[in-house]
Amino acid sequence: MSLLYVAMTATDERVLDRELKKGSAELIILSIVEPRARHGYEISKLIEARTGGQLRFHVASLYPLLYRLEERGWLQGRWVEKAGERRRRFYSLTADGRRALLRQRETWKAFVHAMALITGVNHA
């Protein structure tokens, strides 16, 4: 009985971790491309820089995420060609994406506030 309980908590923690990261990853990427269109490498570098190296996206997880947001209509990817350079794919926020970002920010704020009330962790 107790063994099963331990196993369950372990699983739950992993699931929670993954869900948290997945939920926040979208918010992070949308925020990064909010001011202007950026390409994939730039996005990954900015995330790393702004979180002080705490959060890093590998190629294998970043691009599927970008494609998913694109499929959902929140991002728009466009190949941009410049003279003398290889063409690059830039991702910009769509109108739908902007609304989604706004929503996610509100949810996140409420979530953080609620967590603060429960866990007693305070940023102030």
């Binding site: 691009y63 494609y67 998913r68």
Partner: protein, 911 residues
Amino acid sequence: MPDWSEHLRLRLAALALTPARETEIREELSQHLDQRYEELCGNGVSDADARRLTIEELLDHHTLASEMRPLRQAHAPRPITPGASGRFLLDNLWQDVRGAARHLRTAPAFTTAAVVMLGIGIGATTAIFSVVDTVIIKPLPYPRPDELVSIVHKVDGRDEAYFSDAIYLNYLEHGRTFQDVGIWNPYAAAATVTGHGAPEEVRALATNRGLLTTLGVRPLLGRVFSTADESAGAPDTVILAHDYWQRRFGGDAAVLGEALTINSRPHQIIGVTPRDFRFGGSVVNVTLTTWSPDVILPLRIDAARPVPTFRLLGVARLKPDVTLARAHADVDRILAIWKASWASTPSPFSNTRYGSSLRPLKQDVVGNISTTLWVVTGTIAIVLVMACANVGNLLLVRADGRRQEFAIRAALGARWTRLASGLVVESMLLAILGGLLGVALAYAGVRMLVAAGPSNLPRLSEISVDTTVLGVAFAISVLCGLLFGLLPIVRYLGPRLTMGIGASRGIASLPRERRHSQQVLVATQIALSLVLLVASGLMIRSFQALRSVEPGFTEPHRLQTFAIALPRTEIAEPERVARTQHEIVERIGAVPGVTSVAFTTRLPMDSSGRTSSVWRPEDKVEEDPPRSRQMRAVSPRLFETLGTRLIVGRDFTWTDVHEGRSVVIISENLSREWWGSADDALGKRVRSGDNGSWREIIGVSGNIYDAGVNQAPVAIVFLPAQARSELAAVARRVSFIVRTDRAGTETLLSQLRDAVGSVNANLPLAQVRTLGDLYDESLARTSFTLVMLAIAAGMALLLAVVGLNGVVAYAVSQRQREIGIRLALGAQTRAIQAMFMRRGLVLASLGLAIGVCAALVSSRVMESLVFAISPRDTVTFVTMPIVLTGAALLASYLPTRRALAVDPVETMRAE
């Protein structure tokens, strides 16, 4: 810079992306890895380490694929490789469906033509099937319908549906095979309701408990009759029909137990029928179109009548597991017992042979319409086959245009089965679209049919497009799809597939076999349409023949008829009945526009009637007892009003009526049968029954087609109105006939009502109609068959013309270049035109020859439907081929003219 492509390809392989999308992703990810590698190198990491660290960011082999898998783009549809076989059957099927849909979209004219033709064919077949299914196939809407039989007896070899009260009592007492016997009296079909505003004549059904329980009628309110209600002397009761209860009492449930005055006697209301209660069907010699009575009255059995009246009709329910043969034996036994009960007295029936002629109730309800329906179904099926042939022809032409495509795909390695399945799917798609249109058309058609309500179609209200019908429509569609879908496959696919490559559209590029199959199709179509044209031609000729029969009356649409009953409560003394009727005649005669007025106990062509055996002085009971004859009591001037000729002698006078003189008028056919001519009949004597009083024949009238114009005129004996002795009682309910140009108008009716009301205010007019309505009804079966066959034949002719036109047009288009060359070389347009028209005519003649043979063979089916002409009528068999030849000439002429109108130089340049 390292090449990352191989690593990326490995990781993306599992996703089976489209090549274009995979290239794009590889490009984007390679750039990312390049930059990461440069960054690491810039930070002083060794080349080998930078390469390793970069690749590590791709994580294990599965991560990228598993992250990508939920995305839609990872499920990009596989490109269609022409002819390549897919991994799964469904893959192939889906590919074929998409391919077929694309093909059909790119040829809207072809698709529309094919779908419309199929829609008409499938729609007509579905509609007629729904009628056949309801009328003939489905069981009757009663519980355990197989146990129900109509009571019919064989009397001296003739079927007789009417029987007497005594016979009914013998059924009850001695019957061993019946659960229940239901009877009704069709003579008591009207009753007068008073006490609720104006007097009203209502439709009444006089019946017993047995009928209601046999038919499984469960009352909506209250109860059905009990045996006590039927016994003599019991208080009068009545069951209201649902509609009448709604109309007269607003559906008030409190009406149960109240009294309703019917025929001047209070009747206690004991029940209300369910909403859908209908009663009808037809019994031998008696057609009862389905009708809804207003009130149901208990039928009282009167076994004590000295003279038996054959007034009852009946339905019985057999005990479970009793065969019809056993029931026949039982009825024969019952009839023998009944006859034996007369043995003590001289019986009018001692020389008459009585036997059972029971039959399943359904047979009587369906009646003689089943032949008509099967013939119509056959013709509609022919139309469907023709529609399929036309669509098959169109598909052949299209497949011909795609020969090169098939050959190339075959050369690329496609197996012929793959190409075939593509063609089958395309024709299936057409068939299903046609089926959908067909179901919509059938639905509309059935609703129109029910709304038009042909009076000779039984169970009309039950007809609808239900799941069985939809299932059949689907099956027909699939079958059609297979039928015409296989044609191009048989022609084009198989070992000879590759021959199409490189063939140019030059002279004589038309493969011989394809031309043959088209020609066979068109010849078949012409043959089939000739069969239908002949069938409808026969019906047109029959209809003409029926119309040309002089029914024994003239201008029936100018004859207004209505019935008036004089109940005992209004006029008690029998002597006063005729006086009152005379007075009504006088008053109506004064209405403006009325030329003449008369009345009779039975209208010509009305279905119910009273018969009685009529005797000459020389007839003897012991030898050959005389047959029953139609007998009716009539007023003076009946023949003048109807327009019936009085061949010899004189009409009745009012003196004959009021003084009760012993005179009689007979119809011409009876006079010929007995005395050889009308003149010889004059002054002879006849009597009704072997104990009636003798009457002198004072006149002979022309024949009246009483059973409908398609049956021989009936022998009739006319008695003066007040002849009580023959009719058991004075005729209190008679039908008036008024000849006027204003027949059928509302103003005339209100004037007639006023005229009747001025004699007696309590007399309602009932069964108001013109004799024209009755006349039309007698033509109904023929006109229904005619209309259905004419529609089918019209569609068939159209389809045949379209088919022939298509074949000639295609031949012309294929030889456009040849035509151009010939014209350039100085050929006469007329000669070229003749060349193509000859081809059309040869095809048409071939079809006509086959068609005439087929029509001759199928004429046997028409035997029971035609009237006064042979089913191999020469006029029809000559006219219809001529009509069809004309249509064929037109169909071949039009495309040729179009081709010749084009400038030959243009044609050749286009090549």
